[in-house]
Symmetry: C2
Subunit: 505 residues, 2 copies
Amino acid sequence: MNKKAKTAISPTRTEDYPEWYQQVIKHADLAETSPVRGCMVIKPWGYALWENMQRGLDKMFKETGHRNAYFPLFIPMSYLEKEAEHVEGFAKECAVVTHHRLEPDPETGGLRPASPLEEPLIVRPTSETIIGAMYAKWVQSYRDLPILINQWANVVRWEMRTRLFLRTAEFLWQEGHTVHATREEALEETYKMLDVYADFAENHMAVPVIRGEKTAGERFPGADMTVSIEAMMQDRKALQAGTSHFLGQNFAKAQDITFQDQNGEVAHAWTTSWGVSTRLIGALIMTHADDDGMVMPPKIAPAHAVILPIYRDDEARTAVLEYCHQLRDQLQQQAYAGRAVEVEIDDRDLRGGEKKWHHVKRGVPLRIEVGPKDLAKDAVFLARRDTGEQSSVPRQQLVDQLGSMLEQIQQSLFDRALELRQQHTAEISNEADFRSYFTPQNAQDPEIHGGFALSHFASEQDVQPLLDELKVTIRCIPLEDNEQPGTCFLTGKPAEKRAVFAKAY
Amino acid sequence: MNKKAKTAISPTRTEDYPEWYQQVIKHADLAETSPVRGCMVIKPWGYALWENMQRGLDKMFKETGHRNAYFPLFIPMSYLEKEAEHVEGFAKECAVVTHHRLEPDPETGGLRPASPLEEPLIVRPTSETIIGAMYAKWVQSYRDLPILINQWANVVRWEMRTRLFLRTAEFLWQEGHTVHATREEALEETYKMLDVYADFAENHMAVPVIRGEKTAGERFPGADMTVSIEAMMQDRKALQAGTSHFLGQNFAKAQDITFQDQNGEVAHAWTTSWGVSTRLIGALIMTHADDDGMVMPPKIAPAHAVILPIYRDDEARTAVLEYCHQLRDQLQQQAYAGRAVEVEIDDRDLRGGEKKWHHVKRGVPLRIEVGPKDLAKDAVFLARRDTGEQSSVPRQQLVDQLGSMLEQIQQSLFDRALELRQQHTAEISNEADFRSYFTPQNAQDPEIHGGFALSHFASEQDVQPLLDELKVTIRCIPLEDNEQPGTCFLTGKPAEKRAVFAKAY
């Protein structure tokens, strides 16, 4: 992958993929670890990316009839206990608030917790139980349904091994929580939001995904069905990028969400929940970044282009800067994907090379350099971040073609990612091939294996021991192109569907 | 204030102001209390208002050079201890996380906290200490300055007596945190952000404010100077609507935020912080709402207008609804204050009166009713929420004048609020007048008193006993029109400035 003598990120992907990931985040200035165990600091460049992702998703949520609201950060411990599978799933990773005051500690001279709470509070790991308690009050009649609410919030899951964006104790996310009168409507909502996520991943993030259903063992704790979108990272591992849960009547029964139907009879409602998080930024990095750093898809890039003025003396400086400002104004009058184009001018007093690499590492889609010679020709030096292509382009041509150039970049990032997934996806139909597919072929490169295996299987229990041995998981049972029955790759039993098997984040 | 026989909100403001406030929130569907002590649920209509306020403020922050980022929810207890006054100010109202797991409790059959943390974590009441710890790492040289970062977040302060929006255990806010090389720059930033807040309050929320400096006793814990904006509510009490703190070098010294200056010498930096919160919604309600419910200023209203189709039979229904949809499309092509006009159509199957009052109580600026007779005239029945004025208006005239109507409403809300404040502000120069001003004149109406007193004072200590007796506070020392020296209203000592004295939320 590394054609240049020297790359901006060291190690490269092939040298040490996990460390490369951390270094991209560092050099692109996206985030860093904080002194608080497992909690990250999202830096301005990373947060601007998240804001653009939020804006895109929020628009889609509103277009599908949802509205935002805000519910408490804390959940009484007793609420979590109401749904048995749910508490089982989250009890081991809860931050628990037990006191509400600090007092001087005579022993240490410092402080200590004082005033114990009557009931401990859990910092929300997800909000089904607290939101459900409100819905139980709000829902009386079929006229109150459906309830279609989303919340943008922070949540906490006390992870022991953390990794920036992918797995942190605190993360940012959105969680949709809906209530419906019928099973059919709730199922429709579950799939609709999965489609919204797939649309966003593919058309905004340029990340191709497979939509599928989770097996019983991989479901959200308390759900009847979980569907997800799964993406392939450049190391061929899978990353679950969003989930949508059909909760059946489980939470409605645990929390007494009932309504009077049109015949005057009281029934339990049907609920769903669905979420994506800052984990998506991890998916974005591992899909598009390269050995020179981050590569931002134009639709969600914090800036579409950066202009670097180049000059040696004050006289040139004035003329070049004026030209750059005019150019920026012209470019910013263009729109791309419904958003005014955003252009930065970097006129900091730094060496040209240092500046250039700064923006390469941060992944700005287009880099525009303007020096006295360009000015004389009324042209600019233009470089594409995704391909590295560079050329001299007349100013007016750049202005006229800016939108289509950005669209080309967006499309080519998607195509490249899809090609990678297609290259590393195989239909596997027997144990020997399956073992070999997930066994690194090169002892020096223990991370690299086949990729996604598409295999029929009859029972989760049957295959689990082999999966544990190979550190492989069932990612999902794809919803599309999955009509052909066959036989289980391991047991030979008849099997209706294929699943995607993969190593995963 | 109540001219009608019956009001939509009961009690009215004059009958029971505090209860009126709660009822407005309830009937306007803005928020409600949650089962978690002191935490509120912000409902979709209230949250949409907050989103509009966020959008307006965020734009102003970005225009003044700030960028958003995100820092951890948790603060290690030892961090809070670093700044002595700061911990003193917040220790009594902290939510403390002490455990990170739940386990079955054999005694109760339920759960109990397990796995104590090595060091307790505080749920952030404000983030100076955790953000400062990051800044200490980021700032090395004068070239790294200034740092101009804002965060949108939830914070927790364990309040004993809570009230929706005004005082809740958890609330939403923004907190700006900046670092500067010089005292002058940090002071300039402190005042600049105060001006941004005043601009937002007056020109977006239509809430007139007084900009002023807090006395030593009312400063933010750890600050060298706090400036605030203060607004008068309809019960003549003051509400602090935003604060900006000049932190001097206090936090920089406590947290070791140092930099090498242009001469190569190491110096402590100068920091500021500034914030506004969902408390602003409380200010908005108590400034504009009336005995029929909420009144939304158009610039931040979740919807500018609502169209109510009126018909008795199916034939009329089709024609009326088609007309209403065309009208909405026409109106939504208009813009007001840089935002496309938002128009709802309410065609729910409810009685006309019920529907009308629903939108009156929620405070939609314009109500448009369309029935078969209006349609025949190509006109609509139009009602202004702020004044109650109503008239038949030709459709095209409504479309043409929509923007200027909304601007009129916005301006008239501001004017009305300013007039109230002016009516209830007096210059008071002796103790007898001061006592009488803050003593209710009518035994049946213990809440009503004079309002804001503008009085010279020489020393906070001198006046404090009287203020405690009367339950009055020094709101601020106004920055404008305050050049005239005088003598303290209580002691007669020479005094340079006047302060605003008021009862306050």
